[in-house]
């Protein structure tokens, strides 16, 4: 079991013929993900060569691709100028999970795209996220599959490589994962901590959750309140950015401390006040998860 995806997930790749799109399509197929098609306007009718001689049909539009393949998920690798439009196209075509990897999508574009996806009942993950990895099931996005191993821990994070770090540490310590989700570093993301915590709570295979936050916004605080009120499973936290100065954007568009609430200190306080144990450094996550599972 896992959250949002499983072996039956049928995936389309929007921007399959681009540099990143083609590279990661091969990686996803190699991991075992059912990539049923790709979309690149003007290349409809062509075929994408996957690993092991696998042929993936290419379509001009999501509408055609969904009609032909019965896909229920898509992953977006198109350039920032077209990413919001690609999200809306996917939602309009009836896709229920849209994973937007693209970084640098204008925020105002996303105000409309998120509203549109909500209107159409589609879940968006991201944008500017590494995607999600259901261990032994489907890999949607760019999380490196080899660092994960099956087990009882759910991982949710606003970061990419910091997630790899945490998953790597867990795996090395023999603590496997159900699903690892990178929710993305943008200010406006489609799926937040609470959505993931709620899904992990419902997932019978998940026994503990690692939640990796960072400075900016108040999502972690709200997630902490949710964990306290609505979760029976233990949550272990980590917050990056203790040393980040206020008012400066730390890489991620969403990682900026504006006002007192967005600091790492405030977030750690909120997590601890809700009964979540917080790791002081990434390496401490392992011990805290072990303790939680004991």
């Amino acid at each position: 079991m896992a959250i949002f995806t499983d072996k039956s997930t049928k995936l389309l790749v929007q921007g399959i013929t681009g540099r990143d799109g083609s590279f990661h399509t091969r990686e996803m197929i190699a991991y075992g993900t059912q990539v049923v098609g790709g979309v690149t306007p003007g290349k409809g009718g062509q075929t994408f060569d996957g690993p092991g001689g696998r042929k993936v049909p290419i379509f001009n539009s999501m509408d055609e691709a969904v009609a032909a393949t019965g896909a229920n998920a898509s992953v977006i690798f198109v350039p920032p100028a077209f990413a919001a439009s690609a999200i809306m196209e996917a939602a309009d075509a009836g896709i229920s999970l849209v994973v937007a990897i693209t970084e640098g999508v204008p925020v105002l574009d996303m105000t409309r795209a998120h509203a549109f996806a909500r209107d159409r009942g589609a879940r968006v993950l991201g944008p500017n996220c590494p995607g999600l990895l259901t261990v032994g099931g489907a890999k949607i996005g760019i999380l490196p599959g080899r660092i994960a191993s099956p087990g009882p821990v759910g991982v949710v994070s606003r970061s990419g490589t910091l997630t790899y770090e945490a998953v790597h540490l867990l795996t090395r310590a023999g603590l496997g994962q159900t699903t690892c989700v990178g929710i993305g570093g943008d200010p406006l993301i489609g799926t937040n901590f609470i959505d993931c915590l709620s899904a992990f709570e419902k997932d019978p295979a998940t026994e503990a959750v690692v939640m990796i936050g960072e400075i900016g916004g108040t999502d972690e605080q709200q997630a902490a309140a949710f964990a306290k009120s609505s979760m029976s499973k233990p949550v272990v936290g980590f917050i990056a950015g203790q040393t980040a100065p206020p008012g400066r954007r730390m890489g991620h568009a969403g990682a900026i401390i504006s006002g007192a609430e967005g600091t790492a200190l405030e977030k750690v306080k909120a997590l601890e006040a809700s009964g979540i144990t917080v790791a002081k450094r990434p390496a401490d996550i392992v011990g805290l998860v072990k303790a939680a599972l004991a």
Binding site: A81, T161, G185, Q242, A244, A255, R281, A283
Partner: protein
């Protein structure tokens, strides 16, 4: 990207918002000339990307051109919160009856633009919102409809009782929203929005930030970037496609990924050190980016040790290793470098580095501890 007051006012004027005249001077003589041109009392305002200009002495009234010159003399070159003032705005003094605050920004939770208005203008809105929330009215704009006329009226009606003022302010709200959206802003503020004794509503200060991700489609706004207003290292980083923020420690950090970069800085502190910077080389692993990163880090004389923390995913460890070696050839790097590489093509990378006489760690804790030791040695 932050705009200067005078730039934000240009965009406001283009949107139809009533903004009194005003021009920019870069020398005291120019300021004097402008004061003479406007006549009467003028205000001389420092143009820096910072709040609190008034308190810092960066905003002064001048009754004569000579006085304007004298003020400009003091303000130009002044440092406000670490930023050097290179321009002043000279504008006629306005008769002020009341001051209000009007702002639009992005509400992360509602995923939409939000208006914040208060009749307590000219002051810090965050303080007002926290201490006296009843003095603030907020309105989340549904991006599917934009700001609707009745909503603009509702905001304006919170500020004024007089129908004439409400109508003018309603119009300004709509214009500000259009200005915000059409310029791809992440924040736009009129503080204060004043009323004059004769019953006019005007924007006498303007603040605007543009979403960096919008600049590619708005070249005319992108041109407004004041590269002089940012530290040279950050300008260089931006050109090279790196995310960089200068800090005041001595451990230079070069990391892939923003979260991991922050966690690395935090770990430097955990081990008793102090990070010299935030630097994310991003997902691509072009060796040139690594070279640029090392150029930027080594240009900081405080840096006593340089630490690489790379978790290869899209980023290939061998590319980073090659970049480091390339940089060693091209630049004279004084501080010691410690490297942690793991993930994609790790083995190849370790071999490349070993050949060049480098030892590479695979644990983040080890490499950070080592870097802190070296920096404090």
């Amino acid at each position: 990207m932050d705009l200067h007051e005078y730039q934000a006012k240009e965009l406001f004027r283009a949107a139809g918002i009533p903004v009194p005249p005003g021009e920019v001077a870069t020398t005291p003589a120019e300021a004097e000339k402008l004061a003479a041109k406007f006549g009467g009392t003028v205000v001389v305002k420092a143009q820096v990307h910072s709040g609190g200009r008034g308190k810092a002495g960066g905003v002064k009234l001048a009754k004569t051109p000579a006085e304007a010159r004298a003020h400009a003399e003091k303000i130009l070159g002044m440092e406000i919160k670490g930023l050097t003032v290179r321009k002043v705005l000279v504008a006629p003094g306005e008769q002020i009856a009341t001051e209000a605050y009007v702002g639009v920004l992005i509400d992360r939770a509602k995923q939409a633009p939000v208006f914040i208005v208060s009749a307590a203008g000219g002051i810090d809105i965050e303080t007002v919102a926290k201490e006296t929330p009843e003095k603030v009215r907020k309105l989340v704009v549904d991006p599917r409809y934009g700001l609707l006329p009745h909503q603009a009226y509702w905001l304006a009606n919170f500020l004024y009782d007089d129908e004439g003022l409400i109508k003018q302010a309603s119009k300004i709200m709509s214009q500000l929203y259009d200005c915000f959206v059409s310029n791809g802003a992440s924040m736009a503020e009129i503080n204060p929005m004043i009323t004059t004794p004769s019953g006019e509503v005007k924007a006498i200060d303007a603040k605007m930030s543009i979403d960096d991700n919008e600049l590619f489609r708005r070249p005319e706004v992108a041109k407004m970037r004041d590269t002089e207003a940012e530290p040279p290292s950050e300008a260089l980083a931006r050109t090279a496609g790196l995310s960089f923020v200068k800090l005041d420690g001595n451990v230079g950090c070069c990391v892939n990924g923003a979260g991991l970069a922050m966690a690395t800085m935090d770990l430097v502190k955990y081990y008793g050190g102090s990070p010299a910077n935030f630097l994310d080389i991003g997902g691509s692993s072009n060796p040139d980016k690594v070279v640029a990163a090392l150029q930027i880090i080594t240009s900081d004389p405080n840096v006593k040790a340089i630490l690489f923390n790379i978790f290869g995913g899209i980023t290939r460890c061998d590319d980073v290793a090659n970049g480091i070696l390339e940089a060693m050839k091209r630049i004279d790097i004084k501080p010691p470098i410690v490297i942690r590489l793991t993930g994609t093509n790790e083995e190849v990378a370790l071999e490349i580095l070993a050949k060049a006489g480098f030892f590479a760690y695979t644990s983040m804790d080890e490499v950070v501890e080592k870097a802190v030791q070296l920096a404090s040695a």
